[in-house]
């Protein structure tokens, strides 16, 4: 057979069989290629083929095979690197690649924060009124337990670091729906609102407040939010300029994982500092859903926080200042916790992109409480 035919045959063998053969012969059987922790989902198991599963088997097998392809992670990482280096895009459609290695989150089904950045998803008056009423109802329900109610709004990263968003994304109006909502709530209700955006916009000139490769604020950003929140509760934290901070490198993040750019997007950092002389320990925990901390602060006060992932980095600043502190994720929260624990303070923390949740924010049968 001519040489050129052999070469093409080899090419065909490589693209159809090559990866499978290399995997079979050279990768150990017990090699764990699972990347569940990066993809944040459970990969499909191999389906069984029997008379009951015959009709669904092809679809299930395709899903399983796609999740367990030979060299899957390696090939995906190569693709992700090419996308990022050549085209400045992310392998994930939910991640926007900004300037200087900054990544931003923009999943349509999860708040669609891109629309907020563009200023085109403003709330109508009746929507803001509905949210206000829902929060007031919650406050009333908590009042029965003499619980002080504070609402903390965590800004989206692009609301603070808009200068790192790519220039091709057009800002249609400078109106921000959360700004408008906060103004509405402050003017029309007596709710205690914490919205650290303005302070963050000032402080960012001097300090970095959000991770560049993660959706969340860093420890200092969390500290700013914690300081303002605790001030509402009558607890004062030191000013940022008075903190004794160390800088530590931080080259990870949820957006880096989603974009498969681990080790590619670098030059991020965080701060480490200690605020309180008190210590705390976790006495009960259910992953990230429920955290019950106790500290050696003997003020007899209990704080409860209904939160999302932004509050995780606030725990270090809040827990030492209360005898008991309970942090419950939105997805696991039930008003029964309030009934059982009767906290002195209740903080509702929610990130900007999740504000639509407040439209349906009610306690089921709250009159019963």
């Amino acid at each position: 057979m001519k040489c050129k035919y052999i070469v093409v045959y080899f090419l065909f063998c490589f693209i159809t069989l090559g990866f499978s053969l290399l995997w079979f012969f050279f990768v150990p059987e017990n090699y764990d290629s699972s990347m569940d922790h990066i993809e944040k989902r459970i990969l499909h198991d191999k389906p069984a083929l029997n008379i009951h599963t015959a009709l669904e088997f092809p679809e299930l097998y395709d899903a399983y095979y796609n999740d367990h392809l030979p060299f899957r992670n390696c090939l995906m990482n190569i693709y992700a690197n090419i996308q990022y280096s050549l085209f400045k895009t992310s392998i994930s459609d939910d991640v926007i690649v900004g300037k200087d290695g900054w990544l931003f989150y923009s999943k349509k089904e999860d708040g669609n924060s891109l629309l907020s950045y563009k200023g085109i998803d403003l709330y109508a008056e009746d929507e803001m009124s509905l949210i206000a009423q829902n929060l007031i109802n919650y406050k009333e329900a908590l009042k029965k337990y003499n619980t002080q109610f504070v609402v903390l709004f965590a800004p989206n990263k692009e609301s603070i670091y808009a200068e790192y968003m790519p220039d091709n994304i057009k800002v249609v109006t400078n109106n921000n729906r959360l700004d408008a909502l906060v103004t509405y709530l402050r003017e029309k209700t007596d709710l205690e609102i914490v919205y650290p955006k303005q302070e963050m916009l000032e402080l960012k000139k001097k300090y970095k407040l959000y991770y560049s490769g993660d959706t969340h604020w860093n420890k200092l950003g969390a500290y700013v939010a914690s300081k303002q929140t605790l001030a509402m509760l009558g607890v004062n934290l030191p000013n940022i300029d008075d903190l004794n901070m160390n800088i530590e490198m931080y080259n990870q993040g949820d957006l880096i994982n989603m974009s498969r750019l681990v080790g590619v997007v670098l030059d991020d950092y965080d701060y480490s500092f200690r605020v309180s002389t008190n210590d705390y320990r976790t006495v009960e925990q259910d992953l990230d859903n429920y955290i019950y901390n106790v500290s050696n602060c003997n003020n007899g006060k209990k704080i409860m926080m209904q939160r999302d992932s932004f509050a995780t980095s606030m725990i270090d600043y809040i827990s030492p200042l209360f005898e008991k502190s309970i942090f419950i994720h939105w997805k696991a929260f039930d008003f029964e916790f309030v009934v059982k624990e009767k906290p002195d303070y209740f903080v509702l923390e929610i990130v900007e992109r999740s504000i639509p949740l407040l439209r349906d924010f009610t306690i089921k049968n709250y009159n019963d409480f």
């Binding site: 001519k2 045959y9 090419l11 065909f12 090939l75 995906m76 050549l86 400045k88 091709n168």
Partner: protein, 466 residues
């Protein structure tokens, strides 16, 4: 199963390719038939029975048509009606019901959900090609059920064409040789087709899907044209890429399918366009509908009527929606105009670029009709294309990123422009070096396709309505 899926590329294809070559010649057709049925059943586990029944019934019809000389025509007509009814039920039931209800002004019949079996339009037309060829004595009826089944269900062209006419392939079913030359050509063709589909078409699809959901009042003129141009490229590279893969796969097993696309976007008239776009479909309609209706041999008026009928059917074949019918008739109107006077003007025009621009604009607008869900939506979109609407909420560069621009440029150049320059033929004189460069490029292309596919790139095939 899709050609651009990992299950096909890494499991099915190597199994069939090497299994075919290891088998004794007399078992190869049976092997191809079994693997083709597996291929179809993988994507349509419920409707494989429908296809098998259709094959058996049409096999019987074929034998009857040949044997029953007296009632030959009646048998053929019954067979055609039977196949049209099957296709009509699964594909056009709801369209017919909606039309009847609209005509009567009352909801007389309820629509219902009917899953469309993948490839039914393609294999139905192949079956019709068979029975009509038998009726016309162009070919004897196939006495071997397995061979007829192979013709109808052969996996390279089963779900997205090209539509292979029976008289083009019947000899090859019994008598074909697999050569190393054809196999390597087939492999190359397959990889190029895969590249067209995965790298260009899928990239364009992302842009198109973003633009076509933008509400009319937020859509600017420039975005509308961007969407139309990207869809023009998407549909071409998607479909021609799939045809390239089908033709390449056919070659790997010794079959020679006719070409389905011949750089239609550099056509010089709409008539020329339809000689180069989806050639298997247009030639099917020409052979089995246009010519039996009289073609152009029964006077001008009758010719125009025949053209309208053919293009009505062409539009209808593409989908069960009024937009497809309007699209077909839209092309039919231009065919009539060119027949009447426009064709002469185009022929006499020295500046071929003007002709090509005319074709591109007409076709581009037609694709908007094709893409939109409703006629109203399509008309609004086209109106935006021809008005001066300032950029609204969406910036073009927000929707079309660097990668999309690169694929857009490659797509435009690959429509026939770059092929005219024959870079490899004239750029590299040394044959060995030329072959080497082509193979290296093919390898690079294949690797890019694999990493793109593995990364789960958005990958629906738009013609799977059919």
């Amino acid at each position: 199963m899709l050609f651009s899926s990992m299950t096909f590329l890494w499991l099915f294809l190597p199994f069939v390719f090497f299994g075919y070559r290891l088998l004794n010649y007399k078992y190869r057709n049976a092997f191809l038939l079994l693997t083709s049925l597996l291929f179809y059943a993988w994507g349509e586990p419920k409707y494989i029975i429908l296809m098998l029944l259709s094959i058996v019934i049409n096999y019987c019809f074929g034998m009857l048509i040949e044997k029953k000389e007296k009632h030959k025509r009646l048998t053929m007509v019954m067979c055609v009606i039977f196949n049209i009814i099957i296709l009509g039920y699964f594909k056009y039931y709801n369209l017919i019901v909606k039309s009847v209800n609209a005509l009567l002004g009352v909801k007389l019949i309820e629509t219902k959900y009917i899953a469309l079996p993948v490839g039914i339009s393609f294999y139905t037309f192949q079956i019709l090609s068979y029975v009509i060829d038998v009726y016309r004595n162009e070919t004897p009826a196939q006495t071997n059920l397995l061979q007829l089944a192979l013709y109808i269900s052969f996996f390279p062209q089963l779900i997205a064409g090209p539509i292979v006419k029976y008289h083009d392939i019947n000899e090859q079913i019994n008598n074909r040789v697999v050569t190393a030359y054809d196999t390597t050509l087939g492999i190359r063709r397959f990889i190029i087709g895969l590249g067209k589909k995965v790298l260009i078409a899928n990239c364009m699809a992302k842009v198109v899907d973003h633009i076509f959901v933008i509400p009319g009042n937020e859509l600017s003129t420039i975005l509308a044209w961007t969407g139309a141009v990207c869809y023009t490229l998407q549909i071409y590279y998607d479909f021609s890429g799939y045809s390239d893969m089908a033709i390449g796969l056919g070659k790997m097993f010794g079959f020679k399918f006719r070409e389905n696309f011949n750089y239609p976007y550099i056509s010089v008239s709409i008539q020329d366009f339809w000689r180069k776009w989806h050639i298997s479909l247009s030639s099917w309609f020409k052979e089995y509908l246009y010519i039996p209706l009289g073609g152009s041999k029964k006077g001008k008026t009758r010719t125009y009527i025949n053209l309208v009928i053919v293009f009505f059917c062409t539009g209808l074949w593409h989908g069960a929606n009024y937009t497809f019918i309007i699209w077909g008739l839209y092309h039919g109107i231009f065919m009539l105009l060119e027949r009447a006077f426009l064709g002469e003007l185009l022929l006499r025009n020295r500046y071929r670029m003007v002709n090509r621009l005319y074709v591109v604009v007409v076709v581009c607008i037609g694709w908007v009709l094709f893409r939109c869900e409703t006629i109203g939506e399509a008309l609004d979109y086209i109106a935006t294309m021809f008005s001066i609407k300032q950029p609204g909420i969406w910036n073009v560069l927000e929707v079309v990123n660097v990668q999309s621009i690169a694929m857009l440029l490659m797509g435009i150049l690959g429509c026939g422009i770059i092929q005219r320059f024959k870079i490899f033929k004239y750029g590299i004189c040394n044959i060995i070096l030329r072959e080497f460069a082509q193979t290296v490029l093919l390898f690079f292309l294949a690797f890019c396709c694999i990493i793109s596919l593995v990364s789960g790139v958005y990958n629906p095939f738009i013609y799977f309505r059919f």
